[in-house]
């Protein structure tokens, strides 16, 4: 076998090997909008493991929601927004009012901050939903937020279909 052929074969084998290794060890086949591969951090892997643990440790089917909220706060402080979002969501879904208020704030068009919110843009209905839940759970501050949200929706209703539809929630 001539040297160039061997060289070509080695190069080809190396390329195939790199491709196989990349495929096997690559964390994701999905590419988020910013073009980089999805990582475990993007998927909120830590939060999901936490939730699995909390569920396993739960008494009479009631996981420790204060613990979930505390962990969410810690992730938020650390800038681990996917983990924070999943844990806030888990806690709020099971009735934790403070977690609902945090989610409401993160979705609120008047308080949305890309630095602390996983979602790239606000979502007025989600803000309404979680503020309402927070208010029902005793977070009185949520009332002011709801009032401000309603003012916002009334201002925006003509040009913004989401705002227009949101107004129906108060009818």
């Amino acid at each position: 076998m001539s040297r160039p052929i061997v060289t070509a074969a080695v190069v080809a084998a190396t390329v195939v090997l790199i491709a196989v290794l990349f495929y096997v060890f690559s964390p994701s086949t999905t590419v988020p909008p910013d073009g980089r591969p999805v990582t475990d951090a993007d998927r909120g892997q830590q939060a999901r493991e936490t939730i699995a643990e909390l569920r396993e440790e739960s008494e009479a089917g009631r996981p420790n929601l204060d613990e979930a909220f505390a962990r969410a706060e810690a992730h938020r402080e650390a800038g681990e927004l996917a983990d924070a979002q999943i844990l806030y969501f888990f806690a709020a879904r099971n009735g934790h009012a403070q977690a609902a208020f945090r989610l409401g704030t993160s979705y609120d068009p008047l308080h949305h901050d890309p630095e602390t919110s996983l979602l790239g843009k606000p979502d007025a209905f989600q803000a309404f939903k979680y503020y309402t839940q927070a208010l029902e759970g005793g977070v009185t501050e949520a009332q002011d937020r709801l009032d401000a949200l309603r003012d916002w929706a009334e201002r925006e209703a003509y040009a913004n279909a989401d705002a227009e539809r949101l107004l129906l929630q108060w009818n």
Partner: protein, 644 residues
């Protein structure tokens, strides 16, 4: 024991057979479904002049006229002596209304309709009478020509152009005052750089406002005896506001007001000066009318007894006012007294209530009675109420009688203001040239009060009048009652924005179905964000339970998976000029999605679930096409973008 067992078995058998019979009956009477669909029923729209027959080929002598643009369900299609007929019913419950010749029923399978935007914020849309003429402008992206045609249409000079009509100048919110501009077909086009739609719609020609004889004449017939001073003053205050609204809306030439005062027999009490007198006819300006109201003096002299010659006032309004220029005619009778009937020696008209009511009906005048039940006349109230209810009755709608308990001046003012506001809205709606269907007037809340019940009747009356007017307008042969027109949903001047909304007419039952299915998907997706590994299996199981398309579920079992491919809500979105992003997302690699992507997916669906629920529960946003209370067959024009 054995007898008991046999009896039980017999009862069970009867129950089973009865259930089977009911099921079979229900199946027989279901509307026909759209080809290839299992849950979408065939719908048609009646053209102006359509007539319902008892059977295919039946005599037109017994035909029932149909309100133009009534939306029917189709129950059967048959041919008879070379003509096609469609069996129709107003709702999906199996009740049949009759047969329409096929040419009087436009197929409207996708129930798409146009919602115009506010012309104050968006240039008015042109309706072309030829598709090709509009297509040429689109292909050449000839914004200048489109604009030139619009200016000619606004000026009313469309001779030699392909323009059939232009969007009305005023704005009516389709969600509050429902109208129909049905979309019969659609095709994709490029408007500038944007994907747009070329729509074929069914429309009625817009009338030239100068030639439009739709005007409303409203004559107040007011008791001007001693006790009425506060009510006359309040009427003047309210009418001043009404005039200001009418001027602001540019409707001054569409509605006119008159005033007739009445007292009682001058033979019995000469100091009363007159039995009835016209203070303002319908020809004067608003200013003149208000001045005349100010000039009306309540008598300082008491009449004889508590009954008065009320009908002298009504007859004067009937005979001394020229109603011929007014299509919609109203008399508003305001009094605290009972009427003198034919057998009363002091009656100057010699008319009983039934005779007077017949004369009103002959002239097409609707009389509304506002009965001030003051304390002093309490002994006559029951008699007066009975007579005024009969005088104010309109067939098929009810009595336009409104009592003011204890004669409270503020209650009187509130009621009169609400009635006048509603009449003004009806005139405004008629002036826009829209095809009205029965809807709740804007701002009207059905709170169960007597006033809201009265206003419901006013709404039905206004609707009946406008429909009658449209039918008459179509019968004169001057213009076709209905024609096809073509329009585009983006404007060359600002193609980035939609110039109109394409809306789909959904029934309340359909929306409820969409809501329930979507809610269950969201519940699973939420759990799928917390623990993603089981999500796909859950979604497949749910699809198998609720899908009306098990073949699609089976086909999707091995390959790519989206909500549409799994058969979720496919019937509602297939074939529409709308591409649902969320329904076509491939969910097969859900576990690999970032949390952000998963929550974006969930939030999109969750927002729609909440919107559907709020819409469903807001009864005043639903239109009952059969005129009854809101039920599962009531409709709402949902923007396409609000579909899943």
């Amino acid at each position: 024991m054995r007898a008991t067992t046999l009896a039980r078995a017999a009862r069970l058998l009867i129950a089973v057979l009865a259930a089977f019979a009911v099921t079979a009956d229900a199946q027989q009477n279901r509307p026909l479904t759209v080809e290839g669909k299992r849950a979408l029923y065939q719908r048609v729209i009646a053209v102006p002049g359509a007539q319902l027959l008892d059977a295919p080929g039946a005599s037109r002598a017994f035909a029932q006229p149909v309100t133009p643009f009534t939306v029917f369900y189709v129950y059967d299609r048959r041919s008879h002596e070379g003509r096609s007929y469609v069996q129709v019913g107003i709702d999906s419950t199996g009740e049949i209304d009759g047969w329409l010749p096929a040419e009087q029923a436009i197929d409207w399978q996708q129930t798409l309709t146009v919602g115009f935007k506010d012309p104050a914020r968006q240039p008015r849309v042109l309706l072309f009478n030829e598709r090709d003429a509009l297509r040429e402008i689109i292909d050449a992206n000839d914004a200048e020509r489109y604009e030139a045609l619009r200016q000619r249409a606004i000026a009313g000079d469309v001779a030699g152009t392909p323009i059939a009509a232009i969007q009305p100048e005023g704005f009516i919110d389709i969600r509050r005052n429902f109208y129909l501009v049905p979309i019969l077909s659609h095709e994709d086009v490029l408007i500038g750089d944007y994907q747009g739609r070329l729509l074929r719609v069914a429309s009625v020609p817009l009338r030239d406002p100068e030639d439009d004889p739709y005007r409303a004449g409203i004559v107040f017939v007011i008791d001007t005896t001693q006790s009425m001073r506060p009510y006359i003053d309040r009427t003047r205050e309210i009418m001043r506001d009404v005039y200001a609204q009418i001027e602001a809306a540019g409707l001054s030439d569409k509605v006119a007001y008159g005033l007739v005062g009445f007292r009682d027999s001058t033979e019995a009490v000469p100091a009363l000066e007159y039995e009835a007198r016209v203070f303002a006819d319908l020809t004067g300006s608003g200013e003149e009318f208000l001045n005349q109201v100010a000039a009306v003096d309540a008598s300082d002299v008491s009449s004889l007894g508590f009954n008065e010659d009320v009908y002298a006032g009504v007859v004067t309004a009937l005979e001394s006012i020229n109603w011929s220029n007014y299509f919609a005619r109203y008399i508003i009778l305001i009094t605290d007294a009972g009427p003198r009937l034919a057998d009363d020696p002091l009656s100057t008209t010699g008319l009983d209530t039934s005779e007077l009511a017949a004369r009103l009906a002959d002239r097409g005048i609707s009389l509304w009675s506002i009965h001030l039940k003051t304390e002093v006349g309490r002994d006559e109230h029951a008699f007066a109420e009975r007579e005024y209810r009969a005088l104010s009755r309109v067939a098929d709608i009810g009595s336009f009688y409104y009592p003011i308990e204890a004669g409270d001046v503020d209650d009187f003012g509130t009621a009169l203001a609400a009635m006048m506001r509603q009449l003004t809205e009806q005139v405004a709606a008629a002036a826009q040239g829209f095809q009205p269907l029965q809807g709740m007037p804007s701002g009207l809340v059905d709170d169960g009060s007597e006033l809201s019940a009265f206003q419901q009747k006013v709404a039905r009356l206004g609707y009946a009048l406008r429909m009658d007017y449209l039918q008459q307008a179509g019968d004169d042969g001057a213009a076709p009652a209905l024609f096809d027109a073509w329009m585009i949903d983006r404007d060359f001047s600002n193609p980035a924005e939609r110039a109109i909304d394409v809306r789909v007419l959904l029934t309340r039952d359909q929306l409820s179905d969409l809501h329930d299915v979507l809610r269950r998907v969201v519940e699973r997706a939420e759990e799928g964000a917390i623990a993603p590994q089981g999500f796909l299996d859950e979604l497949r199981s749910l699809a198998a339970i609720i899908s009306r398309d098990p073949e699609a579920v089976e086909a999707a079992a091995g390959g790519g998976v989206s909500l549409a491919e799994l058969g979720y809500m496919r019937e509602y979105i297939e074939g529409l000029p709308y591409q649902s992003e969320v329904m076509h997302l491939d969910l097969s690699n859900w576990q690999q999605w970032s949390a952000q992507q998963q929550f974006e997916f969930i939030n999109q669906l969750d927002g729609k679930v909440a919107y559907y629920r709020a819409l469903h529960d807001n009864v005043d946003l639903w239109v009952s096409l059969d005129g009854g209370p809101v039920d599962g067959d009531s409709v709402h024009p949902l923007p396409l973008e609000a579909l899943p």
